[in-house]
């Protein structure tokens, strides 16, 4: 693997961690978030500031996870007040609020010009890839574990019908906040890794378009499905890189793909997969 392929692989890993976080919130627990990039940004800026202050990288990453998760819980309380479309708009607002604050903080956070000169994590590129890969494994394992646990069952209940879940004594508020805490913590981890990877971060890296890109990775892959999200993320990250045609028209491609998937296959790649399995399964029965 050359440097270019290594960098691509690292970016794919970071995006998968980010997307798995959103999948926990939106896919498992049914709470739509259009501000996921803000938590990615919180993670990245936490690492940026702490690393420049001289803290060791493990401490920085850990702080990024805690910070994003903590602010995630605060933002998550919004989901206790507002639902569905209102929540989508509120989280979108949180994204813009985050950007607005970062842009005006020129002293600590570098404002419009961003933070540069962030120290290295202490590993070379292959070592970094191993770390990013471990992060992917951990987050996937956690996601799969939650899906099979009692908590996953409760998330499902909240996502399907909140009022009925409440009636059946599921503690809806606690589960929603847990989903937000875990999902945003993953975004914080992704942000921390991203900051160490690029060593230069700017407000625009964490704008509304990033939130939408992450959402499209989850939606294209199949909302709620861990393998689907991983495939969707890898696909949407790599396809624009593979051909120059697609990279020139990257956003057009994203937009059109997002629209086409929602219009023709709202269950995403995972849904198509399930359908194929069903068809073949039925054929098998017929024999």
């Amino acid at each position: 693997m050359g440097i270019y392929e290594l960098s691509l692989a690292i970016i794919v890993c970071i995006n998968i961690v980010l997307a798995l976080g959103l999948n926990l919130i939106t896919g498992y627990c049914g709470q739509i978030s259009l501000g996921h990039a803000a938590f990615f940004g919180i993670g990245a800026y936490t690492v940026g500031v702490l690393a420049k202050a001289g803290f060791p990288s493990a401490v920085c990453i850990f702080a990024a996870i805690l910070m994003a998760g903590f602010i995630g819980i605060i933002v998550g309380t919004a989901s206790l007040r507002v639902r569905d479309d209102f929540l989508a708009i509120t989280t979108m607002g949180v994204g813009f609020l985050f950007l607005g604050i970062i842009r005006q903080q020129e002293g600590l956070l570098g404002g419009e010009m961003g933070l540069s000169g962030i120290p290295t994590i202490g590993f070379d590129k292959p070592g970094f890839l191993v770390i990013a890969f471990i992060a992917v494994i951990l987050c996937s394992a956690l996601s799969l574990y939650i899906k099979r646990s009692w908590m996953g069952f409760a998330f499902d209940a909240v996502a399907t019908d909140e009022d009925t879940a409440k009636l059946l004594t599921v503690d809806v508020a606690a589960y929603k906040l847990t989903a937000f805490a875990l999902g945003t913590a993953m975004a914080g981890l992704a942000g921390g890794l991203y900051c160490y990877f690029t060593r230069f971060i700017m407000p625009d890296d964490f704008g509304f378009l990033t939130s939408i890109s992450v959402l499209s990775m989850v939606a294209v892959g199949g909302i709620g499905s861990v393998p689907g999200v991983i495939i969707g993320t890898a696909l949407l990250t790599l396809l624009p890189e593979m051909s120059t045609f697609l990279s020139d028209y990257k956003l057009l491609f994203y937009g059109a793909m997002l629209f086409a998937v929602m219009r023709f296959a709202p269950e995403g790649i995972a849904g198509i997969g399930t359908r194929v399995v069903q068809i073949y399964g039925r054929r098998g029965d017929a024999k």
Partner: protein, 286 residues
């Protein structure tokens, strides 16, 4: 004096927000869809208006043609994009709409170039004295144009058969249909009017900044979403008041808290505070 000028600035922006947001809230009231692609129509309207004004020399003609074309495009969007996914969960339409909007922005960039177009001769730049203030003619046109368009809309909704059918469909689609209202016709009309208004807003913005650029739809559109949420989703009167309030809050906010929040962040901070206090929006019918 400063207060009055800020108030007038807020009013100008508020009127602009109002005609963008009305189309959006009409769509939400009827279909429960957050129609993000509305902002794409706003940009399309600005481009068409600017190109036609440069070609024909008449701003009025350009506004009429641009409004009609964009209205038809809005109807096509309903027919081909929203109609087939209406029965799906709400996030499906939302994400599809966002996708459509991103694709539209890119198409504008590819068609008209990334740097935006300008008027060869900018209309309505004369200075007008108004209560000791120097305003541009375009400012007055925006305020009075918006108010008269919304006035016509409200007359349509209150006094005509069409308007009654439209309000009935918003209130209870099934009941309206069983009384012989064609729900489909109402929806098409709704998209036509809403999109045409978005085109007008687009032209106004292009007049204010003498520019139509691919990304111009971004921020006003997200703000329009904030406004319709504030106005209590689907409530036209509430949306108008929320637009004006937001315009004024922004105008004052940029002066008093501009050091640590930029203009867009002020709008969304206001939105979040209001929603936490009143989750159903400022003005809700419930």
């Amino acid at each position: 004096m400063l207060y009055l000028e800020l108030l007038v600035q807020g009013l100008i922006y508020g009127c602009m927000y109002a005609i963008i947001a009305v189309g959006l809230t009409l769509v939400y009231g009827l279909l429960r869809i957050l129609h993000v692609a509305h902002a794409g129509l706003f940009t399309l309207g600005a481009y068409l208006g600017l190109i036609l004004t440069n070609a024909t020399g008449s701003l009025f003609l350009a506004m009429v043609l641009s409004g009609t074309t964009v209205g038809l495009v809005g109807m096509a969007i309903y027919r081909f994009c929203y109609k087939p996914i209406l029965h799906k969960p709400p996030y499906v339409a939302l994400i599809a709409s966002i996708g459509l909007f991103i694709a539209m922005e890119e198409i504008f960039r590819l068609l008209f170039g990334p740097y935006g177009l300008t008027y060869t001769k900018v209309p309505l730049q004369q200075t007008v004295h108004f209560f000791n203030m120097n305003l541009r003619a375009v400012d007055l046109v925006i305020v009075f144009g918006s108010i008269s368009m919304l006035g016509v809309l409200s007359w349509l909704a209150q006094k005509t058969r069409l308007g009654i059918a439209w309000r009935a469909t918003v209130d209870d689609p099934q009941m309206a249909e069983s009384f012989g209202v064609s729900v489909q016709k109402v929806r098409y009309l709704n998209f036509f009017i809403g999109s045409a208004l978005a085109a007008m807003a687009g032209i106004f913005v292009s007049l204010l900044s003498n520019m139509a650029e691919p990304t111009m739809g971004g921020v006003p559109s997200y703000k329009a979403l904030a406004i319709i949420v504030l106005g209590g989703l689907g409530n036209v009167g509430g949306t108008l008041i929320a637009s004006i309030i937001l315009g004024i809050v922004e105008a004052f906010g940029t002066i008093y808290v501009g050091d640590f929040l930029d203009r867009d962040a002020i709008a969304f901070a206001f939105l979040i505070i209001i929603l936490m206090l009143r989750p159903q929006g400022l003005f809700s019918r419930k």
